[in-house]
């Protein structure tokens, strides 16, 4: 007599998963073993019963819901792509700016340029030479004013 059929083989038998040869072998054992035959009959009955588990399927068409959600998801994706593009452009521009700043030749230092100009040149640049005459005039007025004051003091005495 063959060894008893394990449960997993009975399940495969009921589900129709055994090959023809396997099936024949198991069935021949079931003919001779009441215990295995009983187990098989019970399993088969349970299998059939499970097939009755379904109530009616409630009518529903998911297509409109799915399409709406898919469209929303696509718009969101497009928006994100647009935002990402703008962000990438800004980053790129900033990057180019930084790189250009690093690679550009150094400009002439401001402070050293001042010493290169002579005092005469600076006076000429600022137009101070034109004011020399005015300065003399102011000095004359000051002196005249000062003299006048002395005369007043003498007269008072």
């Amino acid at each position: 007599m063959q060894a008893c059929v394990p449960d997993n083989q009975l399940i495969r038998l009921v589900a129709g998963e055994l090959t023809a040869a396997e099936r024949e072998q198991v069935m021949s054992h079931l003919h001779t073993c009441a215990k295995c035959r009983h187990a098989w009959e019970e399993l088969r009955a349970t299998w059939e019963l499970l097939g009755q588990a379904d109530g009616p399927l409630p009518e529903k068409d998911l297509a409109p819901r799915v399409l709406q959600a898919a469209t929303r998801s696509r718009s969101r994706k497009i928006r994100w792509i647009a935002v990402a593009r703008v962000a990438a452009t800004i980053m790129l521009a900033a990057g180019i700016g930084i790189v250009a700043g690093v690679l550009a030749p150094p400009t002439a230092p401001y402070a050293t340029g001042a010493t290169a100009v002579s005092d005469e040149q600076m006076i000429e640049m600022l137009g101070l030479d034109a004011m020399d005459a005015g300065t003399d005039l102011l000095t004359g007025i000051f002196e005249a004013d000062h003299t006048g004051s002395d005369m007043d003091q003498e007269q008072a005495l």
């Binding site: 399940i11 588990a53 109530g55």
Partner: protein, 169 residues
Amino acid sequence: MRRIGLGEMNALALLVRRYQDRVRRTAYRILGRWDMADDVAQEAFLRIYRGASRYQPTAAFPTWLHRIVVNLCLDALKRRRAVAYDALESVPESPRPDPLIQQERVRAVQRELARLPERQRIAVVLHRFEGLAHKDIAEVTGWSESAVESLLVRAYARLRERLQEWVET
């Protein structure tokens, strides 16, 4: 899938209408609630839509679809650990009502199915209702074939024991 990948909404609608009943039923059998099953089905089709452009037909489409649905159901179960089979209350009335005994039998089977541990239930749903072989269940769930075998043996033994009276009816 190629047309969906190109953004053709008509192709997506066709696919949804072709598979929605199957997906909803599978999700319902695992989750036990139609509202959750519908949400899972919608999300499954959206994932297909989003992944369509990258889809490589390395696995059969139904296997891929099952994988998505099972993963979504597992996520949904995680979010809602205690799945009461409230759905039993909402088993819709058939247009031609079944005899009372038949309705009772349906309820009993659904109840016992719902009482199975999560992984056993998924294995039974894919095996008995979706007609997947052990190997395919292993592929869909990512569990080993021997784990699937063990889950099925325990699940059917339990169902056989719990549904004894209905089997004899």
